[in-house]
């Protein structure tokens, strides 16, 4: 078994009487790509919001022996928990290099901040290679293709030394080739980190998951390996049914 990077116990999020996350336990381990799946409203993103300090919750999140509950967003981030958003949140008016440089510098002193960047930190250059954007270093992030933005956002977490990565639908809107690249990237970075992925795409999940947790109605429906979860009749009933309904909604929206 791999080393535990983050353990969540009995997470509960309440919005004015509506319980969005209802007593979820979750353990993320280094070296694993851990998928969180479930129908819309299952509480996946809310769970990520809770862990990263965006919404209040009860329960406990422990990383490296430190309790994270009650800490501010930026303190949790500095503790090494990084996240991405459903719509890639990069700084569109800054270049790729600037985006990464900012992500690398949360620990910089005020004095360093007030001076100009005289050279590019090595970590930034390495990460650009890793996410395949070295050639676009000087381009404004706003001009990147959709998938490239997602990679950049992941790169920003890498360069910031996050060792627990929570990725919210990283392949939304990507083509097949891009998905495969992203999948390889996930395994590459998971080598020394714990990666959690919120995703709808079943094929992508099957191809890349080391471990899966299925959420439904704010609670854990099933957890285990891809095969174990796929074989679970509760999952088949709830999840596939919901997925069909969602597809119907998607079709209506389009």
């Amino acid at each position: 078994m791999n080393a535990i990077a983050l353990s969540c116990t009995d997470i509960r999020v309440d919005f004015d009487g509506f319980t969005a996350v209802d007593g979820v336990d979750l353990t993320l381990r280094r070296g694993e790509v851990h998928f969180l799946i479930g129908p819309n409203g299952a509480g996946k993103t809310t769970l990520v919001d809770a862990v990263t300090g965006l919404v209040k919750y009860t329960g406990s999140v422990v990383k490296d022996g430190r309790e994270l509950r009650g800490k501010k967003v930026h303190h949790i981030a500095r503790a090494g928990v990084g996240r991405t958003f459903q719509t890639a949140a990069v700084f569109e008016n800054l270049t790729v290099a600037q985006n990464l440089d900012i992500a690398a510098g949360a620990a910089r002193s005020p004095w360093t901040l007030l001076r100009r960047r005289t050279s590019l930190p090595a970590a930034v250059a390495d990460t650009m290679e890793r996410i395949g954007l070295a050639e676009r270093a000087g381009a404004a992030a706003g001009t990147l293709a959709h998938g490239q933005k997602q990679w950049l956002e992941i790169g920003m977490l890498l360069v910031g030394d996050a060792d627990v990565l929570l990725l919210d639908e990283p392949i939304a809107g990507m083509g097949q080739a891009e998905r495969e690249t992203t999948g390889r990237l996930l395994h590459d970075i998971a080598a020394e980190r714990a990666v959690a992925v919120v995703e709808h795409d079943m094929d992508f999940m099957r191809a890349n998951a080391s471990r899966v947790t299925v959420l439904h109605g704010g609670a854990v429906l099933a957890a285990g390996s891809v095969d174990e979860v796929s074989a679970d009749p509760k999952v088949q009933e709830v999840y596939l049914g919901a997925a069909e309904r969602e597809e119907a909604v998607d079709a209506a929206a389009a």
């Binding site: 919005f15 004015d16 993103t45 809310t46 919001d49 965006l54 958003f85 209506a252 929206a253």
Partner: protein
Amino acid sequence: MDILVGQLFTGLSTGSILLLAALGLSLTFGQMGVVNMAHGEFIMAGCYTAYVTQQVVGGAGVSLLIALPIGFAVGGAMGLILEVLLIRRLYHRPLDTLLVTFGVGLILQQVARDVFGAPAVNVTVPQFLRGGVEILGTTVPKTRLFIMALAVVAVAALALVLRFTPAGRRIRAVVGNRDLAETAGISSRAVDAGTFFIGSGLAGVAGVALTLIGSTSPTTGQSYLVDAFLVVVAGGLGRIKGAVVAAVALGALQSVFETYSTASLAKVGVFVVIVVFLQLRPQGLFTLRTRSLA
């Protein structure tokens, strides 16, 4: 006891004026996120509507009653024009909307100055609103009672429209989730224009009512604007309930401060209270919970 009742009524009447001025804003700012700095000038337009109506119609009582719907129409029409010509193009730039509408307000003030002249004009208060009524030992001016009643009617009407008419349901749908409403076949453009019409119309009504209290000059509306915005901010975005509670609370607060110090210091005091309050509840009294990040 008398003092307390007097306090209660001054608080309520100050609050009802604030509420009338803020109600339209709670719709346009609260529900649409548009900071309309020309809202004060729509109020001013309502004041002049009352004045012109009285000049034309004559009888103070009749003209006041006629002026209320006309004021609504005038304010609403100005809001509609503003929305279609400018604000529609700026929905994704709320701060720019603020500055643009401030410019519109400047222009409207100068137009009023050029049309009606710089000196303040006066609307005669109808006979049936002159004098006061004895309530629990204090004399409450009838004009104040009228404004309180008007505020209640305006809030009730707005609530009913939003809740029970198809147009109101569309407005709430668009506020709740713009994209979803669009997919459900609601034209958010038409709804935005409609919302703005109603919100600005309410400013016109407020203007008509204000002529009962003071005189009308090109800068009349400006003096109510900041207070009205504070009411919406303190009440919480998108909540008419919040605007009502905040308006009455701020009115009472102002009145209490005024009793124990001067009106000037009371204004400063109210501001300090609001800033401290926002420390405790940054989203205002009542909030619409959403999960969105923006």
